[in-house]
Symmetry: C2
Subunit: 325 residues, 2 copies
Amino acid sequence: MKTEILKLLRERGDYISGQELCNKFGVSRTAVWKVINQLKEEGYGIEAVQNKGYRLKVNPDVLSASELKSRIQNKWAGKNIYYYEETGSTNTDAKRFGEEGAAHGTVVVADKQNAGKGRRGRAWQSPGGKDIYFTILLRPEFVPDKASGLTLVMALSVAQAIESCGLEAGIKWPNDVVLNGKKICGILTEMNVETDYIQYVVIGVGINVNLDVMPEEIKETATSILLESGKKMARAKLLQGVLERFEENYERYEKDLSLANMMEEYNGYLVNRNRQVRVLDPKGEYEGTARGINEYGELLVETGDGQTVAVYAGEVSVRGIYGYV
Amino acid sequence: MKTEILKLLRERGDYISGQELCNKFGVSRTAVWKVINQLKEEGYGIEAVQNKGYRLKVNPDVLSASELKSRIQNKWAGKNIYYYEETGSTNTDAKRFGEEGAAHGTVVVADKQNAGKGRRGRAWQSPGGKDIYFTILLRPEFVPDKASGLTLVMALSVAQAIESCGLEAGIKWPNDVVLNGKKICGILTEMNVETDYIQYVVIGVGINVNLDVMPEEIKETATSILLESGKKMARAKLLQGVLERFEENYERYEKDLSLANMMEEYNGYLVNRNRQVRVLDPKGEYEGTARGINEYGELLVETGDGQTVAVYAGEVSVRGIYGYV
């Protein structure tokens, strides 16, 4: 009922009488009053005015199961949500749920991670109360080769959700989301496969939202939404936006297993576009001008001799010649 | 000490005096006597003769941590062993150890599985006290594409180990091990990957060893070593053989990431060789004569029109036209 009352208050945006709430849920005034008090204790600014009722005045930056469930109304992305105040790694949790048979679209969210993971076993700083750490579990019916596109689908979804909050997000190929040329979001996709068969994919996303001080060792290349915009952002609302975009984009991807119909949108966010990049290919580094991705998510790089190379994310990385992007 | 005494008794094959054991381990006669009694209780036939000492007369079919550790002396394959009398699935356990950072070559063995897994989520019957269920955790440094060969490397290792016990094992492509044309071993390889990077691979192996009655629904195509040979086999010894072969074969595979130098051995076991097969390709079924694998582990099938098709295990399966193989 708490989730439902919260949802109602948010949607109404105006006063709802205690009587209306009683009727709606078939409970007593006291029961409603108790829930309102719980919500206040969790940080919600709820105004109570005689003869008018209750109104949600301030929706603060609360990350909780009720807050998330009252917001996320997707068909499958986040339909099941596990919320932890603290956990090791949401990717590890999601994989465990994957082993146990959890449904496509199950989402694990944590306020704090004690063993947050980046690519290739690197650590991802995950302090509590400030950022978003979540992982979505997917059970695609396509072959493992096609799964690499999902990372770009998620990057696009995050960039779109941040942009819809009024900020100019960009994507550094393949899957870093940036603000003003600095990284605010990392994505780690892992999958459990038999030879040609995906059992499940987990896509872990870390977004630096309200972090007010960046650790010294990464502050040249990383930042947070707060540091760039000067404003705190409600994390649950942002997460809601990301999952809504992702559900939509995933379905587009699944339809023809190609980024062809998302390419232009993605390239619109691509900060490397038309810039000089250095391709860090283990077989030999080279430079060129990045033009955008193709339908496979490969970065098209024009080299000096008039050739265009399609760079595959797995094997190489790309660095801007002038700075991070 | 129990493991060490057991190993010593087995290696000596003759009497060892209690005094020698006392000296070797720096313990009292009573301590040695206690260990001998424990071993007897676990089922070992140990003879004690005055003035001669102890002798291991019968090494029964015991599957236990001590038995396994006293046998397996590999560099890495089975250097760490977790033994469970009962577990859900050794693959699931091994993946959990993989998440927790367990070393390359860690092996999980169970006497009984309550949720044994076959390919694509199918169940694997895993009653207690009769068969072998084990999983080896690997951390290869090669790309995910090369991992599919490992399944064939394991199939070869199992066939070799069974053959060295005096039985005529065969392989049904790609990875079923058979006796007299019926399946006695299934292999399930799973891996956890980032786009182009293997975090870990687990290879689960189930071998029907001393099963005396096959379930009705599979008895046409499956059998056990006992049913075919009429003799019980010591499971720990067989597992020891498999892990020894596997360590050796894996190192050969790792060296040039190809089955080229194992192809002839593998094809020597291949029961489909020079037989008519039906290739169950979802894009269209066809028939032909199986000739053997190539260096990628693909099955070369000669079709009627003089063409040879290289069949990749992931996409299709192959069925004998006359019976299971």
